[in-house]
């Protein structure tokens, strides 16, 4: 049976970034600039993406704006009829960059903030002055007439300010706000103890989001992503393994999700040698956990198996060392206790900031 076509391509153009967030979901071994795909290869990938039915391109990183060819890639994708989304920290989105992206036909920009005030924002991104630059970037996006999504990643230290974050998004006239609790992969997992909110913090944040949704109905959409650690059921990671997305790393490795490169026993095909069509329809890395055939109990006979697809494979491996186990975020998992243990062990502490020096030289 042919899998239905993928919806989205996540193009991680680079791992370079001016910020150093300790919850960055990039891998610990960041890829260096010298290994990045060139413009020509990305153009070919975009052609293939359109041909296999991909509808949306998410240009991300790291910081996609550090790639000089970003406007050219946006233009190429737009000409193919692809919906172009840029996920940026905004600190380098100056007038020139904004003008180049607007004329290239970008459809949507998602701008991240690390907090609702300059002190918190610049501390967690480890970059002084970043907050002011992001505010300016938001204004430029508005002036260009583009839709704006403002994204906040929340954790123990800033979660109390969710109401202020939403107020700020409203003041910036954002159409959408994302309040996303840290997801514990990559650097986030390294810093889990210091980042995990308490259950009381989580509940207060959830209440704040629900109240704001009522107040802002019809004016601003608020998307809310909760942490697995206080949940009873896992998330459908990426909408199911290899069901909706192809993620391409800066050096061209294609994966069903950006965290998948931590998984052992996989060969992720490179877009340098393999077409997206073969990757989606034939690569073992995509077929292995697509659907439900790989499942064991309790997932195999569970009526939610096609809703959450057994949760996240990367989390099952990271926390249990077992790729085919039920995601421990699920209450039905015999290993659910590891989540509660992590919550018990969490508390204020120092961060390991994301640094590229740890990068692998390949």
């Amino acid at each position: 049976m042919m899998a239905p076509p993928p919806l989205g391509l996540i193009a991680e153009l680079t791992h370079r970034c001016p910020l150093s967030c300790p919850y960055c979901s990039n891998p610990l071994e960041l890829e260096r600039a010298s290994t990045e795909l060139d413009t020509e290869t990305w153009r070919r990938v975009l052609d293939q993406a359109s041909a296999i039915g991909i509808l949306q391109i998410h240009f991300t990183g790291g910081e996609p704006l550090v790639r000089r060819d970003l406007p050219e890639l946006v233009r190429h994708a737009s000409a193919l009829g692809l919906y172009t989304n840029i996920i940026t920290s905004g600190v380098t989105l100056d007038d020139r960059a904004m003008a180049a992206l607007t004329s290239a036909g970008v459809d949507h920009i998602q701008l991240s903030f690390q907090d609702s005030d300059a002190a918190g924002n610049d501390m967690i991104g480890d970059s002084r002055g970043a907050f002011a630059k992001k505010q300016a970037a938001a204004a430029r996006i508005r002036q260009a007439g583009l839709p704006l999504t403002v994204n906040f990643v929340v954790h123990r230290e800033n979660v109390a300010r969710v109401p202020q974050m939403i107020d700020m998004a409203e003041a910036l006239h954002a159409e959408r706000t994302e309040i996303a609790h840290v997801q514990y992969y990559g650097w986030g997992l390294v810093n889990r103890a210091a980042l995990l909110p308490t259950r009381a913090q989580l509940e207060a944040a959830t209440e704040a989001v629900e109240a704001a949704r009522l107040r802002l109905a019809g004016r601003m959409v608020i998307d809310y992503v909760v942490p697995d650690y206080h949940a009873a059921r896992p998330k459908a990671c990426m909408g199911g393994w290899a069901q909706r997305f192809i993620n391409i790393s800066p050096s061209g490795r294609a994966m069903p999700c950006h965290a998948a490169e931590t998984l052992p026993g996989f060969v992720f095909p490179s877009v340098r040698e393999t077409t997206l069509s073969d990757i989606w329809h034939k690569a073992d890395a995509f077929l292995r956990f697509r659907g439900t055939a790989w499942m064991r109990e309790p997932c195999r006979s569970c009526d939610r198996r096609e809703i959450d697809w057994g949760g996240c494979r990367c989390q099952a491996f990271a926390l249990l060392g077992d790729l085919t186990a039920t995601d421990p975020a699920c209450e039905l998992s015999p290993d659910h206790g590891v989540m509660q243990a992590a919550v018990r062990e969490s508390g204020p502490g120092a961060y390991v900031f994301r640094r590229i020096e740890k990068a692998r030289v390949t």
């Binding site: 919806l7 509808l55 919906y83 989304n85 159409e175 998307d223």
Partner: protein, 93 residues
Amino acid sequence: MTADTLASPIPTLGRGHKFRFDQVRGAWVILGPERMFVPDEHAVEVLKLIDGTRSVDAIAADLAARFAAPAEQIRADVQTMLADLASRGAVKL
């Protein structure tokens, strides 16, 4: 033109939304920030007529003529459908 048509709002696609035919799926799709959906065939006929100049009434009149259907009924259907698309951000009324 009656006062009624003058007052009829002119719908446009929501900011950041695109409506296009996808060859691979053989279907019309609406694309927007972090979302995509496949409108049903009735919505597709309405969406095709949204061009930033036609009013809701003009769209309803066009469809009523084309499908030889009662105008009042069609107008009510078009209004409900557009309100639904507007609540999802895909259309601005």
